[in-house]
């Protein structure tokens, strides 16, 4: 068993922790499905790591809400926060369950992955060709979210995963990008990666 992180009370900003829990739990779901479909153990391990992070956040959040409630009225106001945090935690557990399918070598049949990639419209994987206009650009400057409603959630480069890449991260030829977003946006991104589309439209 891996050691659990020791928990000590420290005051946290409820808003920030909730936001991080929401962001992370949703990111984890997409990463976990990607890990299952592309049968990628490293990515699955990363999901399990993120799950530990959420668990720790959940502890801190719960202690902070406990300390914040001074009377019955506070308790009524805060119980919703606590329930929502628990739900985000549950979603991250679900993502970890998906990751475990991969780490325990159960996997998903290649036929399933193949069909899935065809029918699922919110998640895609694309390899960056050397002639792609994206090469050498920072993720932030590509403005993918406002332009086409997509977000790059992970990059596979030199046998390693970069999870939730930062805006300053540069796209390199040979990168495998995992992205989520609207169907139309993902199609566009794929064509940009493959070099079929040579210009970023506004």
């Amino acid at each position: 068993m891996p050691p659990f992180e020791k928990i000590e009370y420290k005051p946290v900003t409820v808003r920030e922790v909730l936001r991080e829990m929401k962001n992370l739990s949703e990111l984890m779901i997409d990463l976990a499905y990607s890990a299952a479909l592309f049968n990628d153990k490293d990515l699955a391990e990363d999901v399990l790591e993120l799950e530990k992070r959420i668990d720790t956040l959940a502890y801190h959040l719960e202690m902070t809400t406990m300390v914040a409630a001074r009377d019955a009225k506070d308790a009524e106001a805060l119980v919703g926060v606590s329930k929502v945090a628990a739900a985000a935690d549950k979603i991250s557990d679900a993502a970890a369950d998906i990751a475990a399918i991969v780490t325990q070598n159960i996997g998903v049949h290649p036929i399933v992955s193949e069909i899935f990639e065809r029918v699922e419209e919110r998640l895609t994987k694309a390899k960056v060709d050397e002639k792609s206009v994206l090469v050498g650009k920072e993720i932030g400057e590509l403005k993918l979210a406002p332009r086409m409603g997509v977000d790059i959630i992970a990059i596979f480069r030199e046998n390693d995963w970069i999870i939730n890449p930062k805006n300053r991260e540069k796209v390199k030829a040979g990168d495998i990008l995992i992205a989520r977003g609207t169907h139309e946006g993902l199609k566009e991104l794929k064509e940009l990666c493959e070099g079929k589309l040579e210009k970023l439209e506004d």
């Binding site: 929401k22 779901i29 926060v81 679900a94 049949h109 899935f116 029918v119 919110r122 409603g149 997509v150």
Partner: protein, 192 residues
């Protein structure tokens, strides 16, 4: 014969994708119900949760009746487990919606956290001069224009699930999810 099998697999995977998409829609709707403190949306989440239960059972029966070859079985065990996970996600969404249905006034930090998240939820009322008014969702091309997708439409007390031929009315409240950057574009379209 091989073709027939592939078609069967295709049906199974399609049903799974429906489970997956529904469970994720439920999360977005559940957060929306908190953000708007809307019982209608929260009830929609609960309805979807019941629908998920039914869909999940159908999915499992379909997998069980597929007579896999031994070497295929493991790969489909993975798929069955994925199905179980979608249920867990749906439960979590229902749990969020329950907060609203219990009559707990959502604490302001909840709305702040949802609005500040990377994938945000937003809502906007369609005004009379909006180019969206009286268009179908297909014609309105909201995802192409704004990068936001419509989760639900609130029309008075009713909550409508969007379909391509749903017509947008003046006064509708569009509830949408996407990256924060698209929010302003949607506002401009709905209420210019």
């Amino acid at each position: 014969m091989a073709e027939k099998r592939t078609k069967k697999f295709e049906e199974i995977v399609e049903r799974f994708v429906e489970l997956k998409d529904t469970s994720e829609l439920m999360i977005d709707l559940a957060y929306s119900s908190l953000l708007l403190n809307s019982k209608e949306l929260a009830e929609e989440v609960q309805r979807l949760e019941e629908y998920m239960d039914k869909l999940h059972t159908e999915f499992e029966l379909q997998v069980l009746s597929s007579k896999f070859k031994r070497e295929e079985a493991k790969g489909f065990l993975g798929l069955i487990r994925l199905g179980v996970v979608t249920e867990k996600i749906a439960d979590a969404a229902a749990q969020i919606a329950e907060v609203v249905l219990r009559g707990i006034e959502p604490h302001p930090v909840l709305a702040l956290a949802i609005e500040e998240a990377e994938e945000t939820i937003t809502y906007t009322k369609v005004t009379e001069n909006s180019p969206l008014a009286n268009k179908t969702l297909r014609e309105a091309k909201i995802p192409e224009e704004t990068g936001m997708w419509i989760l639900a439409i609130k029309r008075g007390e009713k909550c409508i699930r969007p379909k391509p031929d749903t017509i947008i009315h003046v006064g509708d409240i569009l509830i949408a999810s996407g990256y924060a950057e698209g929010e302003e574009d949607l506002q401009k379209l709905a209420a210019p």
